[in-house]
Every structure is written in structure tokens, then in C-alpha cells.
Symmetry: D2
Subunit: 131 residues, 4 copies
């Protein structure tokens, strides 16, 4: 089942093309994954994780833009964990405005030690909670 996260479009999200700046959807998608994690594991904070020695990093993204979004739009980010392996997890994310498809993302994440130097296993409790 999808995790749903809503996000409003503000001036800071737009560009002079009159639409949401294309890189900004990666932020919205990151916010949605963070809230999905917070909801699944309310006791775990990413900030504490970081101090405990682990950060999540993005390994790859594919994004397809379908329609532009505009100032004041209310966007809905639908997020689903597609695949989880020891060292990576793949999320499928869809950003919509009502029934309109705005964009689709496939995001692969991995876990690193906080100094950014070693790959770590994604904790099982995280995978289970997100599934």
C-alpha cells in the first residue's frame, strides 16, 4: 500500500518558466520518504541515526516528467518500497495533482557510515517497517 504525503507548491519551488523547478521534485520525494520512515518507525530519527553512525544516501534516480505543476498546487506523493536487498532499497514514487500525473520517480538508496566512507547494510527493522 502506498504511503501518501502532501506538499504545497510555494514560490521557492518554482522557476521563471512559471512552473515547479524540475530538481525540486527530488526534494518533495525525499521529504515523502523521510515521512514514510517516521511513520513506520516513530522512535527512529534520521538525525539520531546520523549521530549513531549511519546515513541514507541516494544511489540512483530515474524521473519522468509528465505535466508541469504550478504555484499553489497541492501535490500528493505516493511512495512504495519496491525492492529491498541487503545493501540497497528501491522506492517507486509518483507525484500527482488530484488525478493528474506530474512525475514518476524510481529511487535507489543505500546506507553509508556517517563519515561517508563505508557502505553499510540497511537495518532489517527499517526494511520490515517500510514493507
Amino acid at each position: 500500500m502506498d504511503f501518501i504525503f502532501k506538499s504545497r507548491v510555494y514560490y521557492s519551488d518554482t522557476d521563471c518558466g512559471g512552473i515547479v523547478y524540475h530538481a525540486r521534485y527530488l526534494d518533495f520525494a525525499e521529504h515523502a520518504r523521510s515521512e514514510m520512515l517516521r511513520t513506520a518507525l516513530p522512535k527512529v530519527s534520521q538525525n539520531e541515526m546520523r549521530h549513531d553512525g549511519m546515513i541514507f544516501v541516494v544511489k540512483s534516480i530515474k524521473i519522468d516528467y509528465k505535466k508541469p505543476a504550478y504555484l499553489d498546487d497541492e501535490l500528493t506523493v505516493h511512495t512504495r518500497l519496491m525492492k529491498a536487498e541487503h545493501f540497497s532499497a528501491v522506492f517507486s514514487q509518483e507525484i500527482k495533482r488530484g488525478d493528474d500525473d506530474i512525475c514518476f520517480l524510481e529511487v535507489k538508496v543505500a546506507a553509508l557510515s556517517s563519515d561517508g566512507k563505508r557502505i553499510m547494510m540497511i537495518p532489517k527493522e527499517v526494511v520490515q517497517a517500510l514493507s
Copy 2:
């Protein structure tokens, strides 16, 4: 009475000092003023205003930083219209994390024609609704 707007801190809001990037509070403050306007005048959208020929622009800001905010923090933006004249309005904004003061802003805004070339009067209905 203050208008209250809540905003979560995500990775995209932070910098490698481990804290919220200092310019990002201007975004949070802008989001709060936009939501205040939306709440006061639910029928008016800034995007339609823009197509109808008027945009709001910031004329000046004073911001004092009190304490840093961190990833995962839930911030509360308290916004109040301090002064409204024909061609400008001044907002006082306070960003807090629980009882902690994070920063204070004084933001002066004006209205311009959508092409950015002429100063316009701030519509009376906007001032009345925000007061």
C-alpha cells in the same frame, strides 16, 4: 493574533554545518505568509493574482538567528501583520521549535505589476483580511 504555520526540517533544508541553512528560514517565512493569505482569503490564489497582473515582492528583511535548528525538527512559524500602508506591508515573524526561539524576522513586502515594472497598491481586501 498570530497565524501559526508548522514546517518540518528535511535534508534539503540543512547544510554541512549540521544545521538548517540560514537562507532557508526565508523560505519557511514565505511559506507561512502564503498560507496566512490562503487562510485569510481562501478564494484568492497568488497564482491567479499573478495572471491577473500583480505579484508580491519582498522589499526588505531583517533576520536575527537565535539558535540553530536541526534535521527532523518541527518548526512553528508565528506570523503577524505589523503595519500596512498603501504601498507596503510589514510582517513580524518568529520561528520556534517548541519553546526555543530559532529566529526572528521583520519582512516588508510590496506589490508589483506582474512584469515587475510598476509598483501597485496592496489591495485593501488583502490588508483587511490579514489584520
Copy 3:
């Protein structure tokens, strides 16, 4: 032959993981494509294009992250036009720090009317100049 664009990493580009925020590379890549266009067609400005009725929009992006980049790094964006058709163009972009590969992007762009409503042909002079 690749078009080369250099970009320094500042605080505003980083996140509290201590590295460049992953969405920020899309900005660097956009800046590089803009400078490539400016170099290829010095008389054409994207801002005038916009007022003349055409904007470029991104249709899809694939990005693979290889190594993190850090504050103060000098990054080099290598950009090449891979394929150009009537209604779309595909750029291959590689972001490096010295010899280190930071990330690879494949970016598909299209042209829209300035109101965002109609697809337009990418002007031949643009394609020729970028090739």
C-alpha cells in the same frame, strides 16, 4: 567534444550528511547546459526566448551517483549532446572532481510554448550549434 563547466561547492549546496545534497547535481547540470547554449549561441538568451514564447523543459533524467562531493570541492561538468530529434534532445552529462567520477546524468529536454501548454520543435539553429 564535451562542453566543460566548472562549479564550486558552497554551504548552500550541502546537507547535514556532510555531502552535496543529491538534488543539487541537477542544478549544476542545468547551469552547465545553459552555459553550453550561451557559448554555442552567444546572441540567444534563454530569458529572451522565454519572452519570445519558448521555454526548455526537462522531460526525463537518469542520474547515477558514484562518489559524494564535499564543501569547497571544485566540480567539473562535462556535457555532450547525444541525440537530437524534432521534439527532444538528449544530453549526457558527467560530473567529476579531478579524476573522480561524482555522478552521471542522462537528461532529455523538450521545448514548450512559454505558457507551458504546447510542445514546440526545438529550433534547428539550437541543435546545430550544440552539436
Copy 4:
């Protein structure tokens, strides 16, 4: 004598008002102060400083907006150290497009321990080099 830093306006810097987003000037000003420090003290990197235990933080900003800037504009940031005390330094910064004044900033910075918890003295060599 002013330190001069040039910055181009890209799509990522603008908003749907068709102008540079107001908070973005704080980024340009930060980039200019960083380059001023790099030029004054070529052997000192802010990233190493951070690992050595000290970060610079902004304590307050006053910014006055004079004229809007647009996509493709080349902006020049003029930066001067106005006042330096043991625990704070004040910079005066002016952002121009050719002879046009875009905005003026007064930025007060302080030094903190990397964990953000203690105020530190600004190193004398930094003040001397910037003066």
C-alpha cells in the same frame, strides 16, 4: 577595498514571479564571503576548519531589495569586512548588475564549535586576512 565575486543567474535561482527568488541573494552573498576567505587565506578550507572543530554561522542579516534580477543576468557581489570583534564580524555586501543596484546586505557572522554548541573566537589570522 571590496572583494568582487561574479555570479550568473540560472533557472534554479528564479521563481515564477519571473525574477530571482528573494532568499537566493543570501546564497550569492554566502558564496562571495566564502570566495573572499579562500582568496585571503588560500591554505585554509572551510571544510577542514569544520573537521578541525569550527564552523562560521550567520547571526543576523539585513537585506534591502532595490531592483529585481532576471534569468541570464550576471551579478557582481561586492563584499567588505566592516567591523571585526572577538566574537563576531560584520560584512557589508552589495549585489549589482552592471551599474544597477540589486540589493544591499549587512551580514553578521560568528564562529561556533562544529557541534554547534559553543561560541568561539574568530581566529585573528582570519580577521587580518579579510581586512
